[in-house]
Symmetry: C2
């Protein structure tokens, strides 16, 4: 079980290390949506995504002996950088298992934080198995991307900060990938404002949590083909789903074209760069996916790691 | 003459109407430049650029009779939106003279604030003459884009806010177009921190202020061909140059390719969208144009109105 107290403890643990990201407002957005919208800008978090919160909280809770031995993680995305930077901040070492075709810029970012990178073939290898084996062989603490109470509690701190700043909200929109961000967000939100609606957003092609909530059990979909690469998990996590099936009120779906529209809106009107997964909450709002429309809506903008060349393709 | 007191008065006048824009920091940027860099985020100002400050301040100072009659202005860019919005905020009407080939989105934005648009052929018409004639015929108050003490004082409020927030800075980098922003910034900066270096940034092709300062008098260059369309003035303003020749320590030049690099850096690392003119200060820093390098540097990011499709071209 992860509780509001765990999220509050995590908030103290990350204070002064993670950024307290700003809450962005836009008159144009409010007018377009017809509601008051509060955007929690996790694309401005360290490493460019909320993932730093959970990774740092989890690593910070390890014993001195574990910190001495070091960390292992597997990720092709933001969790890799989050673990690498957290390890560096806490004076320990990290080994990150990453696909060998990971873009050079992401490999460089992880290496730049001093982490060791172990690559594998994503078509033939199993990253979890490689990560677990490395951890066992070298005595490393494995920090998974979402299936871990301390990671979930850390991710919940973004919603906690948002609600502290806004006061009462009627609804909170949160992108859903493996489910760690929304699980932590739901714990923070329902714990501090019981009446709030917690609404997850998935890309249409990666609707595994939508289907799982409808079925009442974890459902696996085909590996999603979507521009929202941070939400391409084919099945919810076991731990995250056990939380989300209790606390998440609804999942809404957005198409890749709606996500592109949100990226363009973010550029044109907000002057902000979001990655596709980071913009799904905004996309749901702009596409009118909320019915009835709440009056005061919080949205977690989960990340902004897209790269200039890729962004150019997406918004052209 | 425009004084620090005028800028301080302008700051009171725009308070609660203009945004007090954030000052952005980036560890990556500091490490890359080798200095502490403070970015004043005027791309997050209302209408997406600093221009709102000067236009609002100038219109706010008109008499009730002038406000009853209405405003005239000429601009193809951010000043048009700034005057249109300011007029709407102050309950008056505005007529804006704009080239007939202005992009639809900019015309729509100006019209959206309730302003009347008068178009002209930019190859055969003279916008100043049309603006002056309209103002005379209809009894309107003409608000020029930079040749006006109240406009200059208003533009200076961005630097004033920046320096209030940062305390001591060694240098302030400011984009130079017609010279209104840097004139106001220099008055605010030298007035509150006499030792500060005020450094202007121009695109290489639009180096009219650079040449004018070297010559000690206003020089006219060929109409600049540069992606920094907000800095395409071929000659400094008379009033602005009279201020800038006293207060500006230096002008540095950046190439279009260096501006593109800055736009990409802003997207990749800052997750911010800047327009080319808005990013020239950042471009100068990233290109290593400051020698010796000051330890604490403020930069005015002057605007972010670029449009998604155009940004895609610029950063591809």
């Amino acid at each position: 079980m992860v509780t509001l107290q765990d999220v509050q403890d995590a908030a103290k643990r990350i204070e002064g290390v993670a950024h307290r990201t700003p809450v962005l407002r836009s008159r144009t957005l409010d007018a377009r949506v017809g509601a008051e919208v509060y955007l929690k800008a996790e694309h401005l978090q360290r490493i460019g995504a909320f993932k730093f919160r959970g990774a740092y909280n989890a690593i910070r809770r390890l014993t001195p002996e574990q910190l001495r031995r070091g960390i292992a993680a597997y990720s092709s995305g933001n969790h890799a950088q989050a673990v690498a930077l957290s390890a560096a901040e806490l004076g320990t070492t990290a080994v990150i298992v990453m696909p060998e075709d990971t873009p050079r810029s992401k490999l460089d970012a992880v290496a730049g934080y001093g982490a060791e990178i172990v690559t594998y073939d994503r078509y033939t290898g199993d990253r979890e198995e490689i990560g677990n084996r490395l951890a066992a062989e070298r005595g490393l603490a494995l920090i998974p991307p979402y299936e871990h109470p301390d990671v979930i509690a850390g991710q919940g701190t973004a919603a906690l900060e948002l609600l502290e700043e806004t006061g009462h909200l009627d609804a909170l929109l949160v992108p859903v990938g493996g489910g760690g961000l929304i699980a932590g967000s739901a714990i923070a939100a329902k714990g501090s404002q019981p009446g709030i609606r917690v609404i997850g957003v998935e890309p249409e092609a990666g609707n595994d949590t939508f289907l799982s909530l409808a079925a009442g059990e974890r459902v696996t979909v085909a590996v999603p083909r979507t521009i929202a690469d941070g939400q391409a998990a084919p099945t919810p996590g076991e731990l995250t789903f056990s939380i989300n099936k209790e606390l998440v009120d609804q999942i809404v779906l957005v198409s890749d074209e709606e996500i592109r529209d949100a990226l363009r809106f973010a550029v044109d009107r907000l002057k902000q760069v979001m990655e596709p997964s980071g913009a799904t909450g905004l996309a749901a709002l702009l596409a009118g996916r909320l019915d009835p429309l709440p009056a005061r809506i919080g949205v977690i903008i989960s990340g902004g790691n897209v790269g200039a060349a890729r962004l150019a393709e997406l918004i052209a």
